[in-house]
């Protein structure tokens, strides 16, 4: 906690604790050059008309106007909103429910946990490709149900523009809910056994104990989970690339893919910068309430 560096006599200020400063050069460089420098650079150039190469010819908010007038971007945002809301709610509900089930002193808990968490070890590319195959209308789930005798059954989310984003959602939740379960389980384990005993003595049913007592107590864990899921949602990219490549048509495009395509495929740099700046803005909108809850709340308590 406290530093022990100040105990010896003080030579030149800059040279004091020199080794620690040298050791911190990578961190300082990363913080200043990459995180602040590169971000500022991108924001600055998003106000230019850079095409193939970046150049400082400012055009004000023109790129942003064009961005919000592009159908593909609007589709991307709409997809992200659907994906985000569903994935947030479902991952939290599934993650918490599974953790609560496992917390009921289950035998083989380790086995269950291992099975529920292994998807998280896999990359989004692998996840996307497996689910692409399972959801394949000719061989996958749809065909299986048809073979059972329900001939008219249709379940082809990846080929139906209206619901394609939910096909991606299925894969995303499969991959990510295990992580949330583990975090929730750690939170549940942190709750004092006496609280359960007290609730039992008072005759409160188990489900009610969870809703009224346990979940409010786990607020910090929920906030952490929320931030984790939310910051993951904004970055959704690989999964879409692997599962649908944005198709059919542009039905499953997401902002991160828009940015990549504008920057590295269609040589429209400033458009990509503007889109990525919008992504940053959305992250900031998510982060500020969290920072407020996390750090503003402590002062009150």
């Amino acid at each position: 906690m406290a530093t022990s560096s100040g105990t010896s006599k003080r030579p030149v200020r800059l040279l004091r604790n020199l080794n620690a400063k040298i050791a911190s050069i990578p961190m300082v460089a990363t913080a200043l050059v990459i995180f602040i420098g590169c971000t500022a650079w991108t924001i600055l150039y998003s106000f230019t008309d850079s095409k193939l190469l970046p150049r400082l010819n400012f055009v004000g908010f023109e790129q942003y106007d064009r961005l919000w007038g592009t159908r593909r971007w609007l589709v991307s945002i709409e997809n992200l909103a659907w994906y985000g809301v569903c994935s947030l709610v479902l991952t939290l509900v599934i993650g918490f429910t599974l953790a609560a089930l496992l917390d009921r002193k289950v035998r083989f808990e380790n086995t269950f946990r291992t099975i529920l968490l292994y998807p998280f070890a896999l990359s989004f590319i692998v996840t996307g490709l497996v689910w692409q195959w399972i959801l394949n209308p000719d061989f996958g789930v749809q065909q299986v149900v048809r073979n059972w005798g329900w001939e008219g059954f249709t379940f082809d989310p990846l080929y139906n523009p209206d619901i394609v984003i939910f096909g991606i959602l299925i894969a995303g939740i499969w991959q990510g809910s295990g992580l949330i379960m583990v975090i929730m389980l750690a939170g549940l384990r942190g709750i004092d056994e006496d609280i359960w005993k007290a609730a039992r003595v008072d005759g409160i049913p188990t489900w009610k104990t969870y809703v009224v007592v346990i979940i409010p107590m786990m607020r910090p864990v929920f906030v952490t989970a929320l931030v984790l899921i939310a910051s993951g949602i904004v970055k959704v990219y690989d999964l879409v690339v692997a599962q649908t490549s944005g198709g059919p048509g542009i039905a499953s495009e997401v902002p991160a893919k828009y940015v990549y395509d504008k920057m590295f495929a269609s040589q429209n740099l400033a458009q990509g910068f503007a889109a990525s700046t919008m992504m940053l803005v959305s992250v900031i909108i998510i982060l500020i309430p969290w920072a407020y809850l996390e750090f503003g709340g402590k002062k009150r308590g």
Binding site: T3, I34, F139, Q143, L280
Partner: protein
């Protein structure tokens, strides 16, 4: 307190109460759902194409063949290269090893400096570093291309290694800082009294005491870097694409007949490294992600 020695209240329920059947039933169904994709990958990769066309994704193979695996590993095509996923595998290995070592060495020394040798202003940079972890990568992608190009590293393995080192830094530094902070300060002070300096304490006291956290960091980095797609596709060229990128190119290529069995063998091959680490490391993996998640 009065009657603590003797159990009170009703007897514990028998094991197979209705509630327990429900509980285990739900868990088993859920576990089967989660395990299903792995099962599908395995059975599909062991079938021949005629069998795949006859059946569905869930039917077990009648005639087991390892041909798809051989083909995925050494013959599958991406563009003009037809030497299979083995190329991507070795590229990934070459990217992985230096990235993991470099990022862990830098972050551990940095975390140590932050925990024990904090200097004025260090916390400011550390805060920026942690907040930086929340910035979407897309915002920083292009300027980094320029930086790498200026350094002559754009499109090379070492460029990608550098990128992984930089983006692994926030979480790893946090991990090490917290770990070193928890080591009793008396130990550090005693070493100081004995005349050990910055590096002496790091190598002789901190390093031997923190093997578990190094393993956790290693697991975190190996799975993270192996599974990366975005950086690989942007900062390397086709000949040195990492495995994930090559896998995606093989499976989602538009030309030729779709060979689902080869695709699934390739997918499974790519997932094999993180899966092995996951199943072998068990609790440590969980600890790694929990440490990364709860504090981050």
């Amino acid at each position: 307190m009065v009657d603590a020695a003797h159990p009170r209240g009703p007897k514990p329920r028998r094991r197979l109460s209705r509630g327990n059947i429900m509980l285990y039933g739900t868990l088993i169904v859920v576990a089967m759902y989660y395990a299903l994709p792995l099962y599908v990958m395995i059975v599909t990769s062991l079938k021949g194409m005629p069998e795949i066309r006859m059946g569905n994704v869930f039917s077990p193979p009648v005639e087991i063949t390892f041909q798809p695996w051989v083909k995925a590993w050494s013959e599958a095509c991406t563009g003009i290269n037809c030497d299979g996923l083995s190329r991507g595998f070795w590229n990934s290995v070459q990217i992985l090893i230096p990235s993991v070592f470099l990022s862990i060495i830098i972050a551990s020394i940095n975390g140590y400096a932050l925990a024990n040798w904090r200097f004025k202003g260090a916390d400011v940079f550390f805060t920026i570093l942690i907040l930086g972890a929340f910035i979407p990568y897309q915002v920083m992608l292009y300027p980094i291309v320029i930086i790498l190009r200026e350094m002559g590293l754009y499109g090379s393995l070492w460029g990608l290694v550098l990128v992984h080192t930089v983006f692994g830094m926030p979480i790893l530094t946090l991990l090490f800082r917290n770990y070193f902070s928890a080591i009793p300060e008396e130990l550090f002070k005693a070493a100081r009294v004995d005349g050990a300096g910055f590096w002496g304490i790091y190598f002789r006291i901190m390093l031997p005491m923190s093997l578990p956290i190094f393993v956790v960091a290693m697991i975190l980095q190996v799975t993270g870097i192996w599974n990366d797609f975005l950086f690989g596709v942007i900062y390397t060229r086709p000949e040195i694409y990492p495995m994930t990128v090559q896998l995606n190119n093989i499976v989602n290529s538009v030309q030729g007949v779709k060979e689902y069995n080869v695709n699934m063998a390739a997918t499974l091959l790519t997932g094999l490294v993180p899966l092995t680490i996951y199943f072998v490391s068990g609790k440590l993996f969980v600890r790694g992600i929990a440490a990364g998640a709860v504090k981050g």
